[in-house]
Symmetry: C2
Subunit: 210 residues, 2 copies
DNA sequence: ATTTTTTTGACAAGAATTTAACAGAGGCTT
DNA sequence: AAGCCTCTGTTAAATTCTTGTCAAAAAAAT
């Protein structure tokens, strides 16, 4: 049980470290110093050491960090050695894109169920998973130990579906709908607001041209 | 010409203000105080006032902010009153999801061209836009005053395509590939790394259960 | 075996960001 | 129209986050 809380700023950087370490590992690099990693990732060496040290000393003076060991430690910290079962609500374009995005499975994120309201889609298969009607949601969640709900539905439906998921025990929601879900304290929401990302880009385009 | 640089922390919050103000406007609210907005958005009133004041005084003592006026000002700041022409590279599931995502057009982001390497997709139509082969990219970008390139392609192809886009004058890239693009200083990149978002959620799930 | 070099982990200093506090502008009431 | 009340813009304080520094641990070299 950790005593000090890790800031989300640090947490946000972990997946990127993880990605680079994976690439280093795959290309056969055994050890790396914070300075070398700094050069590759364009982040200060100081920050790298500080970030890793939040979770304990993974390196060794005079040696640096063992790439494979560090990679696995970060995977552990991120919870990637555990399996997660997801239900995807909304089998539209975005939902299908995510369902077909194989790489998630490699990391233990298994899309177990797909739901939609559209009669034309219900019964069809997406990646070997039959799209089910919304009425089956609660029973399915309970039967399949669902961890995470993925909302790829219009904002108008998001709040209600989120409530249903939470009511049947889902504690984490990956939300692609353009709403801020109002959830109990013990439920986690990770938002992906694509339009906000695009607006940020737009802002920076215009700032430059002024 | 603004003298002081606005921090990206502030910029990241603008689209969210914009969304809430749009909703308030649509529901007929004429004026709002930073305190009321604070209650709705769960952000401190102080931060709201501070954020808006980065761009000049939009409010009035004793009155608050005029919703419609503020909404338009933020739209301006975000560059949403200008038209942007995008090319989308990669007409797979994610590319199609984005192409079909109508709301972007309402904000002036027009998907003008769609490209892919897959012979089976080239020539087909996505939202009235014919998918073109990659060989047509450069000419198309020049002919259509393309602003923004959207990369919904595998990481293996991302760097090369980004280089091609930059070479023919594109200065902003919305990148969905899992790589950090290495671009010249005058080129903007906005990354959407879905797997990193999911890993953050995973981290928080596991932290809770410890 | 001793010295030199490398490189971490810890801590301190420095920046940046967020929150609090308040004077005063301007609306609202009587 | 005078005075009260609201609520911003601004400055100051607090907090958080990032970077720089260095002693000491361990590897590498002699």
């Amino acid at each position: 049980m950790d005593s000090k809380e890790i800031s989300q700023a640090v947490v946000s950087r972990l997946p990127r470290y993880f990605r680079y370490l994976g690439e280093l590992k795959d290309s056969g690099v055994e050890r790396i110093s914070s300075q070398e990693l700094s050069d590759i990732m364009h982040v200060t060496a100081s920050q790298i050491r500080q970030d890793f040290n939040n979770f304990g000393g993974f390196g060794q003076q005079g040696y640096g960090y063992n790439v494979e060991y560090l990679y696995n430690e970060i995977a552990n910290i991120l919870g990637l050695h555990e399996k997660h079962h997801l239900v995807l609500i909304g089998a539209g374009n975005l939902g299908q894109a995510i369902a077909n995005y194989m790489n998630f499975e490699r990391r233990g994120f298994l899309i177990t169920g797909i739901f939609d309201v559209n009669e034309d889609i219900i019964g069809k298969k997406i990646k070997d998973i039959t799209v089910l009607p919304m009425s089956d949601l609660e029973q399915f969640v309970k039967d399949n130990a669902i961890d995470i709900g993925v909302l790829t539905i219009p904002k108008s439906a998001a709040k209600e579906v989120a409530d249903r998921l939470i009511a049947c025990g889902v504690h984490a929601i990956w939300n692609f709908a353009h709403v801020d879900l109002d959830v109990p304290d013990d439920v986690l929401v990770e938002n992906v607001h694509l339009s906000e990302s695009l607006m940020k880009l737009s802002y920076n385009i215009h700032r430059k041209s002024k």
